[in-house]
Symmetry: C2
Subunit: 288 residues, 2 copies
Amino acid sequence: MKVTILGCGLMGASLAACLRARGLARAVVGYDLDPQVCARGIAAGLLDECAASAAQAARQADLVALAVPVGSMPELLAQIAGELGPSAIVMDLGSTKADVVAAARRALGPAFARFVPSHPIAGGERAGLERADAGLFEGRTVVTTPADETAADALARVEQLWRACGARVERMQADEHDRVLASVSHLPHVLAFALMGQIAGEQDAQRKLSLAGPGFRDFSRIAASSPPMWRDIALANRDALGQELRAFVATLQRIGQAVSAGDGTWLQQFFQRASDARRRMDGRERGE
Amino acid sequence: MKVTILGCGLMGASLAACLRARGLARAVVGYDLDPQVCARGIAAGLLDECAASAAQAARQADLVALAVPVGSMPELLAQIAGELGPSAIVMDLGSTKADVVAAARRALGPAFARFVPSHPIAGGERAGLERADAGLFEGRTVVTTPADETAADALARVEQLWRACGARVERMQADEHDRVLASVSHLPHVLAFALMGQIAGEQDAQRKLSLAGPGFRDFSRIAASSPPMWRDIALANRDALGQELRAFVATLQRIGQAVSAGDGTWLQQFFQRASDARRRMDGRERGE
């Protein structure tokens, strides 16, 4: 299988690393807006060649993987649309799905049947090819959101690839994916950015941060994530994220009321529900 | 030096462990509302004896350390007030300072001059004597907030003790401590509780959490913290926390506006400021 990876950041390069480590590809061709990144991918042994353009990279590929911020997907899809062979499969690794599916449907025409939307729930706040990790998807969930038109064989092939990289595959509707991820991924990222951005804008930011403890470090770690990537996600999923933000503001206002009213009973009950739920998560992870 | 530790949870027991490991105490007497906890402290080699009451534990101690949730400090201080020897030093390990200082001033009378308010910025979301760690304070900051009346020798003794446990000591006003900690500790804990509590209250909570990635786990880890401890902190520091909550809600509403208006430029700038600040924190930690 000849695989083309468009976008050689953490996700694309980790996919390349997994393909290499498991011997899943005959050749891996890369393309990145920054040619030096792609060149480093060859030097690191992750890629066999670098293409001069996305269009060129897509030609003769059996599988094209789109690993760019979701806001760049429409243009990239348009660039490769006329270049795909009849049996080529296209998949994406984007963090939002409804917008990417819509863009693929618009751009690919009949080839949309061979487009498989997928989202590996993996990664980290520090991006870049240098952090490529063949084990990044190990034990993680990859969500696929096939459309009515998606060809069964293309879907099976992509899901098989993710399983070969150690992931658990879960299929769902694109809208449901976006609604769930708004809650457990997009909102918390925005909250971490918001807290860090708020503190950073204050005069005594440095002093405050010098007194931050280990809990703050864990909480705010995802605020180091890529700003353009998260700008794209926030805009791509604006309806679901907006709804989550409004619900969260209402929750904070309710907590604020309890704090100013000195309602310790309510606070403890609310904190208890949260703490129990968080501890159960750890328990499930340990297989309890 | 004979040390009495009131409250044998993570903080108290870790202090005991440090005293042991560094040979800083001739004897360590413990007291806990739950006598079995104290007994486990003896079994673990952290304590020499368990007292039947806080009052009894305080008698003949050279140093009394109060390691209970801040809401329990006033009653505990009242219980020991009449029992302290003339040269005994009392310190606390509470997460808020103005309320504890006020309670100590009320309860201790003239002995308030030998009360040293301190807050080790250390710990973890999982509490309990079983997690006692002699190195818990290593490399951490301990804030002391002496009052005008605080005796210089008592303050010096307590700060020396924390340094002996590997901590960096920073002195500041109690009000300033509470304002700074509201921002970098109390607010993020409330945000983590709020997100986890909100998700836990939804019908599809389990499904949502099953799709949470590593970023969510980091972000929400502190939501597993002790509910009564955090109820106490929220109430003790209600003014500063309330102000932080209102400012944060305003920040979220501003972000929500940018999201619904599709203002990618503003979002990226805001995220960039946050991401830069968070990365600088990591850099400072690595000594860059």
